[in-house]
């Protein structure tokens, strides 16, 4: 009896150590601090903003979770038409640009970009973009995982939450960036949302303390929009004075749970920001 007790105990301890040590290995091929440092040190494809005579008045297209694959249709040609029709300055996504983080998928995006788009495409990093050697491809072909640029009177911040965390260094950088920003409008583009209504599902930023700290920063620095994705579920909530929009997918094959594939057009008109939600299936131009 005693032997059985000791054997079962030893087995369980082994399992526990295996599980906890296994998680410490971090199955993600890259970690937030590494990606953050590479992005801030300029070791990625840079963000080059379009020239504009009047950047106080412009519009851009925001969407998320395109999940682009080489073997399935995507909405890149439609995005070309949308940006041309609206005279948008750029397109920006909140991550999961690719479905599997594969080199072929990133190459496919570059080809489509050159064929279909006349404006730049920027993207936050999503968890799907990280699969395999995703980060190595993303940083060379898409851009940084963390960035802040000022366009006219708007601060556009790309935040890396692809592995469901922000990390100390990136959080301090965000706080510093917001603190020094003189922009009238502040936008954060990132993959994971901070809040989902009613039931807390494992689709929002994982660490509650990080959520509280981020919410505190949104409030303190009066961030206008927190634009996120990941949930494949369209939802819009107000966090204090900040509007958080969890975009549904903009994928031609991976439909959102409660909506249709969608995109937003944000129009900055001096001190005013307006936004419209549109569905890809409704495009008639």
């Amino acid at each position: 009896m005693k032997r059985i007790k000791i054997a079962s105990l030893a087995g369980t301890v082994f399992l526990w150590v295996f599980v906890s040590c296994g998680t410490d290995l971090n199955l993600s091929p890259s970690a937030v601090p590494d990606r953050f440092n590479e992005s801030i040190d300029g070791k990625t494809k840079p963000i080059i903003l379009p020239r504009d005579k009047d950047p106080q008045h412009f519009n851009f297209v925001w969407l998320t979770d395109m999940h682009i694959r080489t073997d399935r249709k995507d909405y890149m040609p439609e995005l070309g038409n949308i940006t041309e029709h609206n005279r948008s300055r750029f397109i920006i996504t909140s991550g999961d640009l690719t479905d599997g983080g594969e080199r072929a998928q990133y190459n496919h995006i570059l080809v489509e970009e050159s064929q279909d788009l006349k404006v730049p495409l920027y993207s936050a990093l999503g968890n799907h973009d990280l699969f395999g050697d995703g980060w190595e491809e993303f940083k060379d072909k898409i851009g940084p995982s963390t960035a802040s640029v000022k366009y006219g009177n708007s601060q556009l911040i790309i935040l890396d939450t692809a592995t469901c965390e922000v990390g100390r260094d990136q959080m301090d950088w965000l706080s510093d960036t917001l603190h020094h920003s003189t922009a009238k409008h502040k936008f954060i583009f990132t993959h994971f949302c901070l809040y989902n209504k009613v039931a807390e599902l494992p689709i929002i930023l994982c660490d509650p303390d990080e959520r509280f700290e981020l919410i505190g920063l949104l409030k303190k620095y009066q961030v206008d929009f927190y634009l996120c994705g990941h949930g494949h579920y369209a939802e819009e909530v107000k966090i204090g004075d900040t509007i958080q929009i969890q975009g549904a997918t903009a994928s031609a094959w991976n439909n959102p749970v409660n909506s249709k594939p969608e995109y937003y057009v944000f129009t900055i008109d001096g001190n005013q920001v307006d936004y419209d939600k549109e569905y890809f299936e409704d495009i008639d131009f």
Partner: protein, 256 residues
């Protein structure tokens, strides 16, 4: 918010009704327990917690008072964070002992982060069964995230509220005439953090019964996240050293 509070009251009433169907048997509490004040014990924890957002060292103190062995068992507690003075956490817990092993726990937690100027009030409500070897708990927490009036422990503003599932399951082995115990399990909340964190938390605890009244335990708890993103990783590590003192009557000395 009102609906949630009403729901909470109904759940407690259900628990109360269940208790009203008087239990019998060896495990049941006395049939006619009396009302009266009793100091049940005190619990002291030294906690080291490391995560991406907060790395802190704190002391948690809680004490148990009973005014009725079944119905009114109160535990107020406070967390004093030395490494991060801006963080304040305290709670008030009520445990309804349905039987020797089963109880329903309702707990109000308040957290405030001075540095971030936000706070949160949580109401945990869960069923817990603690058997000599097996323990488990299942319930839910109502979370009111506070951006305004964030120091108010009674602000349950429903502008930014959430519900979250709480779970815990553990198994305990005892050795050397129950002097040493070893527990292992998984959970997403513990009494040593005021609310549920993350998705999966394997933990183990090694305990030593110093005397009939005093128990010493060391616990390590790991929290994993990213299970739903296929990028699982360790998010939070918690290590604690706990001393628990129970106000038990001393054993009468055996006659020679």
């Amino acid at each position: 918010m009102k609906k949630n509070l009403i729901g909470l009251v109904i759940l407690i009433l259900v628990a109360v009704s269940a208790k009203a169907q008087e239990q019998t048997g060896a495990g049941a509490p006395a049939k006619n327990p009396e009302w009266g004040y009793q100091f049940k014990g005190i619990d002291y924890n030294y906690v080291i917690r490391t995560s991406a957002s907060l790395s802190d060292t704190d002391i948690q103190l809680s004490s148990d008072y009973s005014f009725h062995p079944t119905w009114v068992n109160l535990t107020p507690g406070i967390e004093m964070d030395f490494s991060n003075p801006g963080l304040t956490r305290y709670f008030l817990q009520e445990r309804i002992n349905l039987s020797k092993y089963n109880s329903v726990v309702a707990r109000m937690n308040h957290l405030q982060y001075e540095r971030w100027e936000v706070g949160a009030n949580f109401v945990n409500l869960y069923f817990q069964q603690i058997r000599p070897n097996l323990s488990w708990a299942l319930g839910a927490v109502y979370i009111a995230q506070l951006l305004d009036d964030w120091r108010n422990p009674l602000n349950f503003n429903d502008d930014l509220y959430q519900l979250r599932m709480l779970y815990q399951v553990g198994y305990t082995w005892r050795f050397r005439q129950n002097k040493i115990d070893f527990s292992i399990g998984a959970e997403n909340f513990t009494p040593y953090e005021n609310y549920g964190y993350d998705q999966l938390g394997p933990y183990f605890q090694l305990g030593y019964q110093i005397s009939q009244r005093t128990h010493l335990a060391a616990m390590a708890d790991m929290r994993m996240v990213g299970l739903g993103t296929a990028l699982p990783h360790l998010e939070r590590e918690t290590y604690s050293l706990m001393i628990d003192w129970r106000n038990l009557p001393k054993k009468p000395k055996t006659a020679q």
